[in-house]
Point group: C2
Chain length 256, copies 2
């Protein structure tokens, strides 16, 4: 566990200045789409989790570290979506709890501090199923929890815009990348995958056409096994075709 005072006063030794990553981590609980938010000790509002980039890390590695630290899961599906760099975006005085900061650090942070310069943020989004995720705080944060995407509170800094753009980007990527694999059990019914895509896209999908489209892309493999849901109905299980799935991740597809 890093020390907050050390981070503010000596962080420039390990981290790059002027650039951070922030991550919209989307989770699916089988019914709805949620996003993971953190409450920092020194920030008055909820925020997307993020962090500075170590000097020996790429942006992607920093985002992978942040998302793994917050969820306990390594190798989440991670996609950069936009960088935010408006003048003064990180200096939003209303977002900082100045008294709390002074109390924790013991000294006043001045304009020469390595954290005081104009700082841009590279936004990533990740998707995960919530069952395996264990939200965790770090040395800077006091709370970390899931919010339904339809009930996200007003966020600190420019994170309202960031969250909105993350959701938009993920919803555009849905048409081009198969991002469902991390969010479903290994075998699933056509109804289950349609419910997932409805939660991700925020749209009702056609119960007949959507599975046909998915199957025409070769993304699904039909299994022998059927799901027992009582009565006379027993929908067939499917799984993702790993080969087609990986190829689509590399080359893109068009799912409409």
């Amino acid at each position: 566990m890093e020390d907050i005072r050390n981070f503010f006063l000596k962080g420039y030794i390990d981290y790059r200045p002027n650039l951070v990553v922030d991550c919209a981590i989307f989770g699916y609980d089988g019914e709805q789409l949620l996003v993971l938010l953190v409450k920092d000790k020194i920030v008055t509002k909820w925020c997307l989790p993020g962090g500075y980039i170590r000097k020996d890390e790429s942006l992607e590695q920093a985002a992978a570290r942040v998302t793994a630290d917050r969820t306990g899961i390594a190798n989440l599906f991670l996609q950069q979506f936009k960088t935010f760099g408006d003048v003064g975006r990180n200096c939003n005085k209303g977002s900082w709890d100045e008294d709390k900061l002074a109390e924790l650090i013991g000294v006043k942070i001045d304009n020469d501090n390595w954290l005081s310069g104009e700082t841009a943020s590279v936004g990533y989004y990740a998707v995960t199923d919530m069952l395996n995720a264990q939200p965790s705080t770090d040395f800077l944060s006091s709370e970390c929890k899931w919010f339904p995407v339809t009930e996200v509170p007003s966020l600190g800094f420019d994170h309202d815009e960031m969250f909105r753009e993350a959701l938009l980007a993920m919803r555009m990527h849905l048409y081009h990348y198969p991002i469902g694999k991390a969010l479903l059990q290994q075998k699933f019914t056509l109804k289950e995958i349609r419910f997932l895509y409805e939660a991700l896209s925020g749209k009702k999908l056609n119960a007949t056409n959507f599975p046909i489209k998915l199957q025409s892309l070769g993304l699904l493999t039909k299994l022998e096994e059927k799901k027992s849901i009582g009565g006379h109905r027993s929908p067939t299980y499917y799984k993702f075709n790993s080969e087609t799935y990986e190829k689509a991740l590399d080359e893109g597809l068009v799912l409409v």
Copy 2:
């Protein structure tokens, strides 16, 4: 015109450190897709045009300034696509002409120089018709010209990857944003707009289905006027429907 020595020695007064924008400016000449490249005085290979961000500018404003300076056209369709921040990406010694730099600056640039730190680059792409563009150099560059996207030479730093990602992103956005307006004359035939989309997407499009799809989205308005191309054929002119076009830019669409 800025002075190169002043920029290297005093640039930190006007510009943010550690972050630049680089821009893939795509042009269309009625037949093929091209990209604008610059040859910097102190870089041995061709590069995408770019620049540091002034302290009073947003990232978007910096990209708009760079694209306007290079093409002579303000307000190009501009879209951020990815930020590049691998460790050492800007310190590629092979890309710099060290002797030329020393000659131009008059002193050796050391590790304390404001340009020496790890620098990430925010990538933007722009699209323009080539007829109205006038490629221009700046104080750092000696050449600025168009290359067909199929004949781009090996680029400096990580610009090979940047160019590839810009093209990929533009081609994904084609399905979601109407980006053709800046690339066609005000009135055009269905064949002309199909040729444009073929150049942008790098794919052959169905001559019958593509115009039907465009029209079903309400993007086009049919004009009374016909194009005279000799013989008995005289295809109808169309123009973009401004209202639908602007709405689609705001809200996105799905063009497949």
